[in-house]
């Protein structure tokens, strides 16, 4: 089977973009996907990693200062006892959720456009959860005692408080990371075997051979592997919903105006997927170009993700409307004040930036011209994440800073350590992602091969109405 020629299609807005440009055979798929790993290191990549390493060093410095001085090095105070730390925790963990949604939920719904983006999205999940996990550990004050969070038979005879959402969080986040990692690694095994078998040097063959665990593509392997993969997707689906629900309980279970609301779990989950998809786009738009895999990660994928951002953005908007409505309709003056304070208090700039980025900007995605423009999508994806970060900042800091009694009011100003930790996690996350792109296939070769077989079978059997056009391509509006 040879690659179909690039044919131009009349610009019919009702026809979707193809899932895969051309129909490369198995060997070509493998070569295309592995090429970024075998080719010599590029200058641009090296410069980005260098830049990232500076950020990692800054992160290390800020962590050291935090450990040496204690969390007094941060701008946190009373009443703002939670600030950048928890804002960043919630932001990062939310970003991670898009990866699981793509890899697990879209698999169960048989959405084939997940196939060529799931690997990158899951890697993003893992790195985002790592960054998220760093913050509560740092915020413990004495991070060397992190194991006190787990129920272990201590000499004090004490157990953790199982009725606290903060403890549920410990279980939720650690389970989430473990399951995401197992799911990602299991999906990676056939491709690691391809890497082992396609490697030219003995050391590469040995290294990838060890990580491939001896995968031989045997029917005995596949029969366990396939059901295992499907079941892990089935488990990851409710898990991802539970994680952000439990994160939202950290706030909703308290009695603080602005936090104490029942809409938080669905509102947080929608916000997580909203910001996560934005981060996937932020990473994938440059990555697919760097990898030269624009024929596997096509405009169809980008457009579909834009649609998910629009849909979840509308859910988030509904959350904004409802929490403000209940603040007014509930008749609780403290609750009403908390919301009035967001748009009229000292942090009003954050509120209005949040509304611009999260409510107004995503509306551009209604227009096909805009959501199929790579540059526009990339800018929107970044603005959405700015907006979602500010949403968490507004929920956490702005709700805290004006307590019930005006004598308890305060203001929060981040210190350089706060900023360094924040910038440091972004840099560490970016560096890990760059290393990932260099070390393992960023698109699942074995799943793309299966997808090609499905598309071939559909094209041969007539399939659905849209199928004949899938083999054709059209220029991307970029």
């Amino acid at each position: 089977m040879s690659t179909a020629p690039n044919q131009l299609l009349a610009d019919d807005p009702l026809e979707p973009y193809p899932l895969m440009v051309g129909r490369p055979d198995d060997r070509t798929v493998t070569e295309d996907v592995l090429r970024p790993i075998w080719r010599p290191t590029r200058k641009g990549w090296l410069m980005l990693v260098g830049l990232g390493s500076v950020g990692v060093a800054l992160f290390g410095l800020a962590v050291t200062v935090t450990f040496a001085v204690g969390i007094g090095a941060w701008g946190n105070n009373i009443p703002v006892a939670w600030a950048f730390d928890i804002t960043n925790f919630v932001w990062w963990i939310g970003i991670g959720h898009a990866g699981t949604l793509i890899s697990a939920i879209l698999l169960l719904f048989q959405q084939r456009w997940r196939t060529s983006i799931n690997r990158m999205a899951e890697a993003m999940t893992l790195f985002a959860v790592m960054m998220a996990g760093a913050y509560p550990l740092l915020h413990l004050g004495r991070p060397q005692f992190f194991y006190w969070l787990f129920p272990y038979p201590s000499t004090l005879g004490l157990w953790p408080q199982f009725k606290s959402p903060l403890l549920w969080d410990v279980f939720a986040v650690s389970t989430y990371f473990t399951v995401s990692f197992l799911f990602w690694y299991l999906g990676l095994i056939p491709d690691l075997a391809s890497l082992r078998d396609a490697s030219k040097h003995r050391w590469q063959r040995m290294v990838y051979g060890i990580f491939a665990l001896g995968w031989r593509g045997s029917a005995h392997h596949w029969r366990h592997y396939r059901i295992a993969y499907l079941l892990l997707a089935g488990l990851a689906t409710p898990l991802v919903l539970s994680v952000h629900t439990i994160v939202s309980f950290d706030f909703a279970v308290s009695v603080l105006p602005g936090w104490h609301t029942t809409i938080f779990p669905p509102y947080f989950v929608a916000g997580a997927i909203f910001s996560g998809f934005a981060m996937v786009l932020t990473l994938m738009i440059p990555a697919r170009r760097y990898l030269g895999l624009e024929h596997f990660v096509t405009m169809r994928h980008l457009e579909n993700m834009a649609k998910v951002i629009l849909a979840t953005g509308l859910m988030v908007d509904y959350g904004y409307v409802m929490e403000n409505f209940f603040a007014w309709y509930g008749g609780n003056p403290y609750e009403a004040f908390a919301f009035w304070n967001r748009s009229h208090g000292p942090y009003a700039w954050a509120f209005f930036t949040q509304m611009t980025c999260n409510v107004l900007v995503p509306q551009l995605l209604w227009f096909r011209k805009l959501r199929t423009s790579v540059a526009v999508l990339w800018v929107i994806s970044i603005l959405v994440n700015v907006g979602m970060w500010l949403e968490r900042f507004n929920i956490i800091v702005v709700s805290l800073h004006r307590d019930f009694m005006p004598t308890m009011w305060g203001i929060y100003t981040p210190t350089w350590v706060d900023w360094s930790l924040f910038i440091g996690t972004i840099a560490t996350f970016g560096t890990l992602f760059l290393l990932f792109l260099r070390a393992v296939p960023a698109v699942s070769a074995s799943e793309v091969k299966e997808l090609r077989r499905q598309l071939d079978a559909e094209a041969a059997g007539g399939g659905t109405h849209a199928v004949p056009h899938l083999s054709q391509t059209r220029p991307e509006a970029s």
Partner: protein, 179 residues
Amino acid sequence: MKTYVLAKFADEGAVLSAARALREGGHRALDIHSPVPIHGAEEALGLRPSKIPTLALLAGLTGAATAFLMQWWMVGFNYPINVGNRPPLSLPAFIPIIFELTVLFAAGAIFFGVMILAGFPRTHHPVFEVEGFRSASIDGIWLSAEVESLDAHPMVDQLRTLGAGQVSIVPEDLQVVTP
């Protein structure tokens, strides 16, 4: 002495009919290697459905029971703490951790179940001795048969008549023969 006979086939249909023919001829120790799962390979090789789902169910139930018993005993009996006069045994508060441990145990059982049932990690295997077998994870479809060394050459002939392309023999001393 055990010997592996490896044969490359041109397409999925050919390897499936070859596997069926060999099985009808009484050969049981067969395997098909391919870069993507082949529909019908399990039936052609006579493999039973995977035990992974059962394992996952049992592990999930174990996880749920562990989480429930742990919380029930720790805060209900061993060291009850009165917070806001809530009852020490409040099941709704236990649900999140019960759910998380159910998922954790089941996912662990699935992953490590695959490791054990598929015999991983096993970074070396006689089939890797054949240079051409590298294609099995890229684009090649291979059939491997485990035979006594005396039966290796008859097996080669049989595979050839069944439409195999390249055929290799890997004896236990790993000196590959390509007849």
